[in-house]
């Protein structure tokens, strides 16, 4: 179990962290959430058929728990940490691309929680729609249509910047 979990963490480390960051909006809480989820998985008695969505569910739950505990502080910190690294200065030739990227970042930050989580799980964690549905405990069709709706919304927002 420990070796499996180690392998799971190694493969999905970035995905776990990005999901936790999307939920909490704070780097420190996101890291705490991932660690807490790993501890919970270690103590878990269950042997799920597919451990990947099970682990992502644990990360999401831990992140939500921590967010609830620290909600007052998180609300005081108006600036929510985005899921992206800070972009280095781009050369002038790539100004259009930079504006587009800025637009994407802003649009993703403004997404509602369910859409942001679906997007992160699909694009940045590389989960299948079935795995996302299991992680979020929602029907496959709901997840799939929400993902398409999110992409459409993001695309519309980004085009405003370009």
């Amino acid at each position: 179990m420990t070796a499996d979990l180690e392998e799971l963490y190694r493969r999905h480390r970035q995905g776990f962290f990005t999901l936790a960051l999307a939920v909490t909006g704070r780097r420190d809480l996101a890291e705490d959430a991932v660690q807490e989820a790993i501890v919970r998985l270690l103590r878990s008695q269950k042997t799920p058929a597919d451990p990947v969505p099970y682990a992502f569910t644990a990360v999401r739950n831990a992140a939500r728990d921590l967010l609830r505990k620290h909600r007052d502080r998180s609300e005081q910190d108006r600036e929510r940490a985005g899921i992206f690294a800070r972009a280095p200065g781009e050369p002038a030739a790539a100004l259009g691309a930079q504006e587009r990227e800025t637009g994407v970042r802003a649009a993703i930050r403004a997404l509602p929680a369910d859409q942001a989580e679906t997007l992160v799980l699909r694009i940045y964690a590389g989960l299948s729609f079935q795995q996302i549905a299991t992680t979020l405990n929602e029907p496959l069709s709901t997840v799939s249509s929400r993902y398409r709706r999110t992409l459409g919304r993001l695309k519309g927002e980004v085009e405003k910047y370009v």
Partner: protein, 170 residues
């Protein structure tokens, strides 16, 4: 449309993500190194005890019925009568706050402890100013149940709407 989305997906996927720190890797590695507690819980012990009892009953079929037979009544012991109770005047109860409405919006809840599947906490009722002890169950709604100072509620609304504040409750 699909091609547009594919292109847009690849644009999203190309954005550099914020990476977790090395401290997280170290903490996770430390957690993984510390072996989990052995899977020897009450459930296992109870299962083994039950199977041992079954085997015993199968081997000695009369034992179970003999065990159920009532034993001869033990000699009664003389017990002195308890002293008569002195009536104490009840301490004055603090004045009860007015009951909140049957369904209300909980804005603030403080976790106290985990009791099985129930979360016990304290909620503040808006426009009421008082804190109440609550039992929060998942995927239910909060509803008025009973008084007086510590009021119990069952939750009939999604628990996500209950906001927990990490202030210790004394």
């Amino acid at each position: 449309m699909s091609n547009d989305f594919d292109e847009f997906e690849s644009l999203l996927a190309g954005l550099p993500l914020a990476a977790p720190s090395e401290a997280l890797d170290e903490q996770v590695a430390a957690a993984l190194r510390s072996e989990p507690p052995p899977r020897w819980g009450w459930a296992t012990a109870a299962t083994l005890a039950a199977s041992a009892l079954t085997a015993f009953v199968l081997c000695f079929p009369g034992a179970a019925s003999r065990a159920r037979r009532p034993s001869p009544e033990p000699p009664r012991r003389f017990r002195p009568a308890p002293p008569p109770r002195t009536e104490r005047p009840a301490p004055p109860r603090p004045e009860r706050p007015a009951a909140p409405p049957e369904l209300f919006q909980v804005t603030d809840a403080r976790p106290l402890e985990l009791a099985g599947a129930r979360k016990v906490g304290i909620v503040r009722v808006p426009n009421h100013g008082a804190y109440y002890k609550v039992i929060v169950r998942r995927l239910r709604r909060i509803q008025w149940r009973e008084g007086p100072e510590q009021v119990r509620f069952s939750v009939v609304r999604p628990v996500e709407e209950v906001v927990y504040v990490p202030v210790p409750v004394d």
